[in-house]
Subunit: 199 residues, 2 copies
Amino acid sequence: MNENIIPHNFSVSSKMREKLRGHPGLVLWFTGLSGSGKSTIAHALDLALYKQNIHTYILDGDNIRSRLNSDLGFSEADRNENIRRIAEVAALFADAGFICITAFISPFRRGRERARHLLPEGRFIEIYVNCPLATAEARDPKGLYKKARRGEIHEFTGIDSPFEEPVNPEITIDSSKLSVDEAVKHILSCLKKGQYGLS
Amino acid sequence: MNENIIPHNFSVSSKMREKLRGHPGLVLWFTGLSGSGKSTIAHALDLALYKQNIHTYILDGDNIRSRLNSDLGFSEADRNENIRRIAEVAALFADAGFICITAFISPFRRGRERARHLLPEGRFIEIYVNCPLATAEARDPKGLYKKARRGEIHEFTGIDSPFEEPVNPEITIDSSKLSVDEAVKHILSCLKKGQYGLS
């Protein structure tokens, strides 16, 4: 760059990025107990949106815990930091004009509220996958509830650490009653009814 | 989710995401001294790619240091962690089928090599914005060199902390000779010549 050239403002704005993507950037934040079906429903929703040519990206344990957050353990401080970083990355994807889907237990209201406040009003959609503890524990897809009951893991949400239910989530799914397909259909219809810019 | 329903594999793959975006995911990793022009060229390139309907996103000090990495200072450990997280986030954007542009000094080879190895072969493009220290220091857009020379800031790259030049960068720009427009044109022509899937 020649010293005499004054740099212009070259920035591509969020609005311009959204125009290219064809829809606004959003965060769809799933929250719920381990075994509630969050991740399964989130991935099914991801696929359904993809088929509509909507630009999505999913953040879940698979691509976060072993990579960006591989330095974090499961202490309360580390779990908070885990959610803080996920919220920041999700906000970047939304700023890029993506529909970013996150699927983490995220048991604490404070962490979820902080995630919400990183986004402009109306761009954060909390999806509570509600499921009775007994049902989630009976499923126990990763055997974690058994371990927690035996005391082999500590501060496990629902057992010896609380799950703070969302106070006013945009969408609630009862995953003990709805099939995955029904859950996805319900979410899609809520997204269409809401003022989220999806048609 | 009904307990009797076995979850299917609903995953949207990187390949599928790239198909929707219309081009492969890449990381364009700018590296160079403070004042070398990295950020200005990176933003101009971002805009040029945007005009070609290419899905880009830029990570720079503005959206990273004050947000995701707001817990980090400027010690060597924190600077390494800063670059580690940026590399992980850039890899997520590339996995999402984006061309992710990063603009950070990133003075250490080890950090840049680690960033490279997070991506599949050929998806990480190191762009060295080469600029003599004297030129960068004369520009001193943020007054940081002056502060470093007065000893008010420490471990400043080029003054009392080394800049490890890239050994074999995919693209080199001499920003003391090229204008911003010329630099962007050169990068675009390298991207087209390279086997990066851009036409």
